[in-house]
């Protein structure tokens, strides 16, 4: 019974599809962990919106093996990524680098927020100014109450 409940509980957790196959993994857990982290930042060039860590495509597998190979040789994480980037270009990076061509990408959100604050602030400020004119002068106040009084009298008759 206990085992059944345990099996049921496991069934409740949808495990992420794991593309990394046992024969690819490195025996060194530290290196393997680094390989996994690097793989998550690299785009699969066939499936395009998936990282190579979770892709089952053949090229993704080759790239995973390559990442591990470079790590075993002694490359740093940055060197491994640079190695693949040299062959596949910036496109292979899931996080685009900050460079002149991507300034619009990185700074447009900030620019939009600033524009929003500027415009929104401007509109609110102009509203507040109008409120300052709401008080009528004593003369106008008298005229208005006179008209209202006359109207009320008219309604009553």
């Amino acid at each position: 019974m206990r085992q059944l409940i345990f099996a049921f509980c496991i069934g409740l957790f949808p495990f992420a599809a794991n593309a990394v196959e046992p024969d690819e993994m490195l025996t060194d857990p530290v290196l393997e962990q680094r390989a996994r982290e690097i793989s998550k930042d690299l785009r699969c060039v066939v499936c395009q919106n998936q990282d190579i860590d979770s892709s089952n495509a053949g090229v993704a597998r080759d790239l995973r093996l390559l990442v591990r190979e470079r790590l075993v040789v002694g490359d740093s994480d940055a060197e491994v990524i640079e190695y693949i980037r040299a062959r596949y270009g910036d496109y292979v990076l899931l996080k685009p680098p900050l460079e002149p061509a991507t300034y619009a990408l990185w700074f447009a959100p900030i620019a939009f927020v600033l524009i929003g604050v500027f415009v929104g602030g401007g509109v609110l400020m102009s509203r507040r100014k109008q409120e300052a004119f709401e008080d009528l002068g004593a003369e106008d106040e008298n005229t208005v109450s006179e008209i209202l009084r006359q109207n009320e009298a008219g309604d009553a008759s």
Partner: protein, 188 residues
């Protein structure tokens, strides 16, 4: 100030409208992957011949120092579009005098031999890339892919996918002509 704010929706509409117009362009291929290899030296590689085939293997040095730019085609017998492309490439070789080299990508040698025996072999040299490592050096995303390499080893053009159909053949022919990969007067 008021005018500026009043004009903002219009400016926003123009900017976003421009983006939409750009996105609607039927000639734009959102799946296109920019290649880093164009105008770059071809990667270093040295591949053994396909066992069982008389065609010699392929190395980077074979692409350099030729009279005209040459074409490198990555193919495999398991790749269905390659079969259609094979006829087109063969015609370029036989009719127009294009020089064609092949990289046999992740293919069983016996399958490759059978495939070439069935369809004919237009390749001057074929390197067997069993591991797919040379494919990565070329920035390959799939098979087939076709490259035009200048005689100094610079990659001039890359075509992703099969060169099949009038549009693709036209594009490829233009690229061959621009590169000067065809003997004078050919390809017209």
């Amino acid at each position: 100030m008021k005018r500026l704010i009043a004009g903002l929706p219009f400016i926003a509409a123009v900017i976003f409208g421009g983006f939409f117009l750009w996105g609607l362009n039927p000639d734009r291929d959102p799946n296109e992957i920019p290649s880093v290899l164009i105008s770059q030296p071809a990667p270093a590689f040295d591949l053994d011949p396909v066992p069982g085939l008389e065609t010699p293997g392929l190395a980077r040095s074979d692409l350099v120092g030729n009279e005209r730019p040459v074409v490198v085609n990555v193919f495999a017998s398991w790749c269905v579009p390659c079969r259609a492309e094979h006829a087109v490439l063969t015609r370029f070789v036989e009719r127009d005098g294009m020089r064609l080299f092949g990289i046999n990508y992740k293919d069983k040698p016996e399958d490759a031999v059978k495939w070439l025996n069935d369809l004919g072999n237009p390749y001057e040299r074929i390197g067997s890339d069993l591991s797919g490592r040379t494919g990565i050096e070329w920035g390959l995303s799939g098979v087939p892919e076709t490259f035009i390499v200048d005689s100094d080893g610079t990659v001039l053009f890359r075509y992703v996918g099969p060169v099949v159909g009038p549009d693709a053949v036209e594009r490829f022919t233009q690229a061959l002509k621009q590169a000067g990969a065809l003997p004078n007067g050919a390809g017209s």
